[in-house]
Symmetry: C2
């Protein structure tokens, strides 16, 4: 039952599936922890928009926050990125196996398992 893990993966991918959020993730990955105000500096959207995006990222577990005096620093959580990568790897691996099975069927059309799903020439 990969349903639970699948939901987690969907949350992660959803969080990454926005240009503004992806830009935030890249900035955090490249430069370390920063505040929402600092992050909104180079962005084209307002600070509040950045804050909402950070909340989405944190909801997906990709980011954590820490109060530091009067400001709040957000930092990347690279383990979550690892989870996303694991999902991609799993799908890719399954696809490779499927391709291999298909090739074996094509190269050895001895006795198809059941239904005659053969293609017709017209």
């Amino acid at each position: 039952m990969s349903t639970a893990r699948e939901r987690v993966a969907a949350d992660i991918f959803f969080a990454l599936g926005d240009r503004t959020r992806l830009s935030v993730v890249r900035k955090l990955g490249a430069g370390g922890a920063r505040s929402a105000t600092a992050l909104s500096g180079g962005a084209k959207v307002s600070r509040q928009a950045i804050v909402k995006h950070l909340q989405v990222l944190e909801g997906a577990g990709l980011v954590t926050h820490e109060k530091r005096g009067r400001e709040v620093l957000y930092a990347l959580e690279p383990r979550r990125l690892e989870d996303a990568r694991a999902f991609l790897d799993a799908v890719s691996a399954g696809w490779d196996r499927a391709i291999e099975r298909l090739r074996q069927l094509v190269e050895q059309p001895e006795h198809p398992p059941g239904g005659a799903k053969a293609r017709k020439e017209r």
Copy 2:
């Protein structure tokens, strides 16, 4: 810069950031090419919903379609998954470097390497 690539990555992640679509991707990865009707068999949504999701996936380059008689078979495009993984790797690598720089600053606050790069936090 990386803006163009970032947009592509965002499209890929967006396409993967939906539970129904992610389920479709996993099914295609596990079982090979299938039609939209076949994919909607086990799903909780209608065929048209699946078709729309497949169009989103195809728009992100994650899936291709091929007409096969009266039905249309959709197949996974694993190279696009590779692109997504590459992005995750790049962010993780950048994060590792950032951590390393930070640790060096903490352990040796004497003379930072190089010049006055960008350690002006506000």
